[in-house]
Symmetry: C2
Amino acid sequence: MNWLERIFDPSYLDLPRFLARPTDTGEDVSATVARILREVRDRGDEALFEYGRKFDGVSLARLGVSGEELANAGTLLPAALRQAIARARDNIRRFHEAQKPNDEHIETEPGIFCWRKSVPIEQVGIYVPGGSAPLFSTVLMLAVPATIAGCSRIILCTPPQSDGTIHPAILHAAYISGVTEVFAVGGAQAIGAMAWGTESIPKVDKIFGPGNRFVTEAKIQVSGSACAIDMPAGPSEVMVVIDHAADPAFAAADLLSQAEHGPDSQAILVVIADDLHAGDLLVDAVEHHLDNQLSRLGRRHLAVRSLGHSKAVIVTKPEQAVMVINSYGPEHLLLQSATAEVLAGYVRNAGSVFIGPWSCESAGDYASGTNHTLPTNGWARAYGGVSLDSYFKKITFQRLERKALCSLGPDIRIMAEAESLDAHAEAVRIRLSRNCEVST
Amino acid sequence: MNWLERIFDPSYLDLPRFLARPTDTGEDVSATVARILREVRDRGDEALFEYGRKFDGVSLARLGVSGEELANAGTLLPAALRQAIARARDNIRRFHEAQKPNDEHIETEPGIFCWRKSVPIEQVGIYVPGGSAPLFSTVLMLAVPATIAGCSRIILCTPPQSDGTIHPAILHAAYISGVTEVFAVGGAQAIGAMAWGTESIPKVDKIFGPGNRFVTEAKIQVSGSACAIDMPAGPSEVMVVIDHAADPAFAAADLLSQAEHGPDSQAILVVIADDLHAGDLLVDAVEHHLDNQLSRLGRRHLAVRSLGHSKAVIVTKPEQAVMVINSYGPEHLLLQSATAEVLAGYVRNAGSVFIGPWSCESAGDYASGTNHTLPTNGWARAYGGVSLDSYFKKITFQRLERKALCSLGPDIRIMAEAESLDAHAEAVRIRLSRNCEVST
């Protein structure tokens, strides 16, 4: 079946139109979210309990999970899953530990010492969406670096299941990656709770994590006034670049592992071929495997809807593929062509790049060690994914010796006066007047 | 005169109330800003010319400044100012060049290679407010690191003066720090122009720079959907920590160099004294100098209004001062007590820290090398100031060898299946089935 709309040899100027992200056709959520946030800010826990009944269909006795429940959750999981989670945690830890900052100390002029110090953000909040399956991998991705950074409080909010509990895989992942408190609260109300704090839930300094449109809108709304956020998130996306050397079955599997996320997800195939006809045949080959693999898929209905706005772009030169990549700025970029290593060197806009046939997206999604919280919707132009840096702020320090101010001071005064900031000039003048042999 | 409201020995829980930032009592600007942004997005240059007539009172022939005008602006400045600007530029360059990232390459498991690469954000936009004086120092602070990072396009928007031109100090600072294009557009409309692009002004990936409430609101509004921003900015603030060893005239000068920024600015004095009475006398001494210095100040009327909500906090132990500092999270923190170096080690929340009597805020505002674009309004809990990092995004890369996927693959499958993501599991299974000796 022809799953992918084919675009042959597009010009640079046409690309943004051809590869436009699916636009959000749903109702405007901003007013709804603003109302929920206001309720939570003003009424605290009471509002959270109400929303729990309304949206999650559960009447909770309390919002927090006990330390005992957290510590024991692992015993409810199959040993193989527990081991897999521990291995993923260890790889994520290794990759993020290597990101520890080196704070530079320099002397910009004799006697002017300037440096930065990386200080962990004290209180961080992690949001993990609910839904049909427990997204414990997101817990690992967001809590492990927080622990390495040394954040003193790492809380997690996630919607309760229909019986009011939280899935043990989420609790166990939280427990082994250093989360300090877990709350059974979901949706925009969870974001409001972490941004302002309630009786049960502490206010945090920064909120991390993915979510649906309500959660994303809530994060954006609080980010202007109350609380920092990791990044504005959107539906997930992948771009897979292949040529004759690639295995079309692998490419099909990778497109589907994006498409199954949901109907908003976007999967783009880029084919580099000797000529457009050869490229067309390669797309045929991938589509043949899409047919085969789709039939085995539990979330087939979601994947089919997502494929409805997926595309195949056929080009004849590697540099055109580079243009397509950087114009689109994919969250995940899979390079499976013979030229993969070379192409990787030219990537300017992408969240995470997977090089070669054995680097499937699932590896990075779960266990290779890289973070899976990545910029979507073209945000890769400006943002990197979550990393250890996301949990630090860097404070600058400076210490000037007396002689250094005597030397630099007159130039500071000239500039302050040129900006009509007299008191700035005066703060220098008064120091110079007492202590330096310069005219004041 | 009693300029500063005195707070004696406050408890930790009372601090947030005592040191609350002046709340914004102006009208709600969000609807106005949303309308301006919509106009600019929909009508481009036409709307910019209209707003130029309406808000800046000038009819411009074109929005851009010619390359010749940019290159020649320096000839219109006094030589001493030109030299001071060059010296500041060089120090800023030295401090930010030291921040160049070291991208780590690691092998998380045998055959799993993961690394990050710092890639400059391609297009950045700088906003410089207008007003009574040309804020050329902000140009240096925002353009110098962009040039070091290697951003390919660095544009600058600033409101025109009443004669339609831009002050030569701004143009010259732009020219010598690598700005590629300058436009005479100010206000929320400039933010919209850079976020979406117009016929004259290119769309950028990230917007930097301070501004009034309209500009800040515009930055927040575009940051959710169109364009990244440096940080949500607010009125400037300083906290000055002194004890018996400090020179009260210096402290007064530093408080005033904050207060002169405008009526929203906040200046907080923290006094560490042997007892509360001694602390009271120290505040008296500072106020005596405030009286003296105010009389010499051009922007006296602004400083007086700002002092109206300034405070003095008197404590008797250094650890209480630490509590006050970290509770407030000042943009600028000046440590002028005998314990300055020790206190500096305990700072968790601050934008930039100035240690010792010769490290006046003006030094960092202009010329020592550190950046003066810093988190205000308590954002220091989550954000650092603008730094070289602000102009990069870090892209992650990974390459798995076949044997590595054969080893890790089964654990990825277990986790993907536990998250009900069949296609994620399948992308691994299909690879394992062909190439590894494991059961599939």
